[in-house]
Amino acid sequence: MRWATVAWLSAVLCLVGSRPAVAQPVQGLSFRPFVMASFQQFSAQDTFDAAFGGTTESFFGGGLNITQDDTVYLELTASRFKKTGELAFYNNGDVFRLGIPMTVTITPFELTAGYRFHRRQRRLPSSNTRATVPSRFIPYVGGGFGLYRYEQTSEFATDDENIDTRHAGVILEGGVEIRLHQWIGLGVDLRYNYVPGILGEGGISQLADENDLGGIAARVKLVVGR
């Protein structure tokens, strides 16, 4: 997982350092696939800290971003987090890790919609004509919902003790797309998602009184398309 992160960052740096492109609003529908990585700070901090020894974890995935006249967008994302930690016990804020492997897989399927902000047309200097000023940076905001699959398996567990469940959540997002090339863009955004119904019903999360599987994620996506 670590080498993948390095590869991502290297690719992003190369692209950022390349010759800037001009963002020209695209008329009509545009289908733009992307790959993404996100680094999520989970709201259930005690729970994740107990299981994994930390509260920030990585998701990797991809999706499809569809724009209409380069202003409104609809985005479908599938990603995945998988990590092996330990079963633990939580008592009055103290965590005791028990050395028994536990693997958690979180697979979000998310659908968001939003608006992309382009600079308005303005009068060009030394003339009376109005024109769209091209920009590399296209801010956007949006929101949506997701379906989150949560799987938990552990050593010595019976079937009843393993979990494979799903629950819906909501998403708010905002960020900026940087046009690196006519066909390539780099999206950087912050996402907040709230996913009740999975945590808090049992386990450490219940003892820690934490019921949100979501959190705040910093996301980087590499978009292919205009």
Partner: protein
């Protein structure tokens, strides 16, 4: 000349008869050296299982044995009705009190009281008193002085166990009946932790442990039983003593100590401590006899309970609050991770400050403590004071007993036709009960309802229960698998599980208690109740802990 010789002969004969008669009516003082040669002796004779069902609180043998034991003591009861050792009381002065003020307080409380040298592993002092003085009243006067933090009599402490019937011998076969271990889900717990507590030290505060081979020499005095029947002096006898082969291995016994004899030789002359130690850690998976819970723990026998033989051998101390408090502190100071206390006494709240201080001290040093709830349910169910203390200390738990009706399913033992109660008939109940574990019961189950571990074959140790004509010296080198019943048997189940839990990673005593209670199998009424506390301890669930969402 012949008449004179005849008269002298008759006079000599009369004198001899009179001397013998007089000797028969009196008991010589218990003097003579008590010699223990450690390591000198043969391995034990292991005799397999005894077919005995009399390790129960209300059997005639139990009552007789306790009565015989108590016959050797000078005990008194005061206004509270709780037995205490006469001739002494415990006092803790405030640090700010000068020695002069302390002396004044002592003099004001009792004309006969005198400060003795502070015993080891004690944060209190012991005052000697006239044995006929009411120690409770003196303690009350002393406790009202501003220089005094607390004062209390040396209340007598007894193990929560049930002695054997020495006259009922088993057949050679042992029907394996360790129903108690699978009941608390130990098999799957051993899967999780095959090391079974190998890094943990469990202190067993009890009657000692058959931890070594030894040869004992003692001039045994005469004594009277509880009915006044005289048992003859046996003269100097040599008593063989052997280590329990199913409990003691090289390097396993650590920092042993004896507060009854004030030495480092906590030889068990009763069998209770050895049986309790067996439940905690009897060797397992070796193809021999029975299993123990945490079968790789290190054991620290700390003898704080005297037996009949200790008393007849002339032990200087008997089991009191002072001895127990010192034992707890000793265990904590010498690296015990878990302390098992299958013992207790009744009493109103706040009448055991020395023991409470010691319990808090030990938990503060990282030791988890399991205390049996008592065997007096059918005897008025009096409040057990040590158990009550444990319920107020996070990191110490009170353990009640269940019988073989218990199952590993939640919400059983409701006391209905389809869910019969599993509360052991003797197990003391109350708001202080926190957990339940197998203590066994012979009622309705016979020998299959007992808790079986290795200890002495009581046929060879409890010779004082024979008629005087058959009475002979004991021998402690014949061992057997013996069934016991009592909350004394329940507490070591919890201690063993706690040892495994600590090794698994829950190192804080309060967290161990929280885990044991959270994962307990709820019995009886839903939630905590006075019979079963939070329920039956579940070794597997506690060891396994929790995932994020389940």
């Amino acid at each position: 000349m012949g008449r004179i010789r005849a008269v002298l002969s008759v006079a000599a004969a009369l004198l001899a008869i009179a001397t013998l008669a007089l000797r028969a009516q009196t008991i010589a003082p218990n003097t003579g050296e008590f010699t223990v040669r450690l390591g000198v002796g043969l391995p034990a004779v292991d005799q397999g299982a005894l077919n005995d069902e009399s390790h129960a609180p209300q059997t005639a043998q139990t009552i007789k044995r306790l009565a015989m034991h108590e016959q050797l003591h000078r005990e008194r009861t005061g206004a509270t009705g709780i037995p205490y050792a006469s001739g002494r009381l415990l006092v803790k002065f405030r640090e700010s009190a000068s020695s002069g003020a302390r002396a004044d307080a002592i003099a004001a409380a009792s004309g006969t009281a005198a400060l003795t040298a502070r015993p080891s592993f004690a944060d209190f002092d012991v005052l000697s008193l006239d044995p006929n003085e009411d120690a409770e009243a003196a303690a009350l006067r002393l406790s009202q002085r501003p220089e005094v933090e607390y004062a209390q009599p040396a209340y007598r402490v007894r193990p929560h166990f049930v002695p054997n019937d020495p006259y009922y011998h088993s057949s050679a076969t042992f029907s394996p009946g360790q129903w108690n271990l699978p009941l608390i889900n130990l098999e799957s717990a051993w899967d999780i932790q095959p090391q079974a507590g190998s890094t943990i030290t469990v202190a067993v505060l009890d009657t000692g442990l058959a931890y070594t081979n030894a040869t004992i020499t003692k001039n045994l005095p005469a004594f009277r039983d509880d009915n006044g029947v005289l048992y003859p002096a046996l003269g100097t006898v040599t008593i063989p003593y052997s280590a329990a082969s199913q409990i003691v291995t090289a390097g396993r016994i650590v920092a042993q100590h004896d507060f009854i004899w004030d030495n480092d030789q906590p030889l068990d002359f009763d069998g209770h401590g050895t049986h309790v130690s067996g439940t905690i850690g009897q060797l397992t998976n070796d193809g021999l006899f029975t299993a123990g819970v945490a079968f790789n723990v290190k054991l620290m026998p700390v003898k704080v309970i005297d037996s009949f033989w200790d008393d007849l051998f002339g032990a200087p101390n008997i089991a009191t609050d002072a001895v127990v408090a010192r034992g707890i502190r000793y265990a904590a100071d010498n690296g015990a991770n878990i302390i098992n206390m299958s013992l207790g006494r009744e009493g109103p709240p706040n009448t055991a400050p020395a023991v409470e201080d010691a319990i808090r001290y030990a938990v503060g040093r990282g030791a988890f403590i399991a205390i049996s709830s008592g065997n007096e349910f059918e005897a008025g169910n009096p409040r057990e004071i040590f158990a009550e203390i444990a319920s107020r200390v996070q990191g110490a738990v009170t353990v009640a007993a269940v019988d073989r009706n218990a199952t590993s399913g939640d919400h059983h033992c409701r006391g209905t036709a389809g869910s019969p109660a599993c509360h052991a008939y003797y197990s003391s109940s109350g708001s202080y009960v926190e957990l339940a574990a197998p203590g066994g019961s012979e009622r309705g189950f016979g020998r299959d309802g007992l808790v079986w571990q290795q200890t002495f074959n009581f046929e060879f140790t409890d010779t004082f229960l024979l008629p005087p004509s058959q009475y002979h010296a004991p021998r402690f080198d014949v061992h057997a698998i013996v069934g016991y019943v009592g909350t004394s048997m329940a507490a070591p189940h919890v201690s063993g599980v706690a040892a495994m839990v600590m090794q698994q990673g829950i190192t804080d005593p309060a967290a161990i208690e929280a885990a044991l209670e959270k994962f307990a199998i709820d019995l009886g009424a839903v939630g905590r109740d006075d019979l079963y506390g939070y329920g039956l301890v579940d070794a597997r669930a506690t060891l396994r802990g929790l995932g994020m969402a389940r």
